[in-house]
């Protein structure tokens, strides 16, 4: 319980709020770019480079047995008890349905995740939300 409170307190800190606002602003700007343009390439490449740099730094630190920067360390430990199958089963079902639709035609009656995204991303707000989710996923991958 104390770790959860510490986790919440950490997220409410000024550093994380600034990071969240910056990520929101960046996502809003990135969502304004059109695919297959230099702008979209740059907007997508900047997080790729940043995450690669952080992951490289973590790898280098681990090799030297150095401790990670505090911002990259988890406060709460991942839970290990409990049934493992519900989430993977849901993911396998999703992947199976994606593959079924991918190899079926026409696309309008067999929408894939990409085609659903294409339709949703016509809205700037939705595209910015997807971009923000992608940034959050990348951050979580290097944070853990």
């Amino acid at each position: 319980m104390r770790t959860r409170s510490a986790h919440l307190a950490r997220w409410a800190g000024p550093g994380h709020l600034v990071g969240l606002v910056a990520a929101l602003a960046y996502s809003w700007w990135a969502a304004a770019t059109a695919p297959f343009t230099i702008g979209a390439d740059v907007a997508t490449a900047i997080p790729l480079v940043a995450v690669t740099a952080v992951a490289g730094g973590q790898w280098w630190s681990a090799r030297r047995h150095a401790t990670l920067p505090s911002a990259l360390r988890r406060l709460d430990r991942p839970e290990r008890a409990g049934a493992w199958w519900p989430v993977p089963s849901a993911l396998v079902a999703l992947v199976g349905w994606e593959l079924y639709n991918f190899f079926s035609a026409p696309r309008v009656t067999h929408p894939t995740i990409s085609s659903l995204y294409d339709a949703a991303s016509r809205s700037h707000a939705w595209k910015a939300t997807f971009f923000l989710a992608w940034l959050a996923l990348g951050w979580e991958l290097v944070r853990r």
Binding site: W59, W97, S114, W134, L141
Partner: protein
């Protein structure tokens, strides 16, 4: 099958994933969540690199191309 049927299946599967993940957060001792399951993969450099490459491909596929 119509588009509406396909969308209904997508919605049901997404809801299933959300329910499973929510159960992991609300009933920590009974169901393991996505991050709990990926923790062993993130602990090893080769699988960590694969996950990061997957994340990169996802961003490039959806936002740049």
């Amino acid at each position: 099958m119509t588009r509406a049927d396909a969308l209904a299946v997508w919605a049901a599967l997404a809801a299933l994933l959300v329910v499973a993940e929510t159960m992991a957060h609300t009933r920590r001792q009974r169901v393991r969540g996505l991050w709990s399951l990926t923790a062993p993969l993130l602990a090893r450099t080769p699988s960590r690199v694969v996950l990061l490459l997957g994340w990169m491909w996802l961003g490039w596929h959806f936002f740049a191309r």
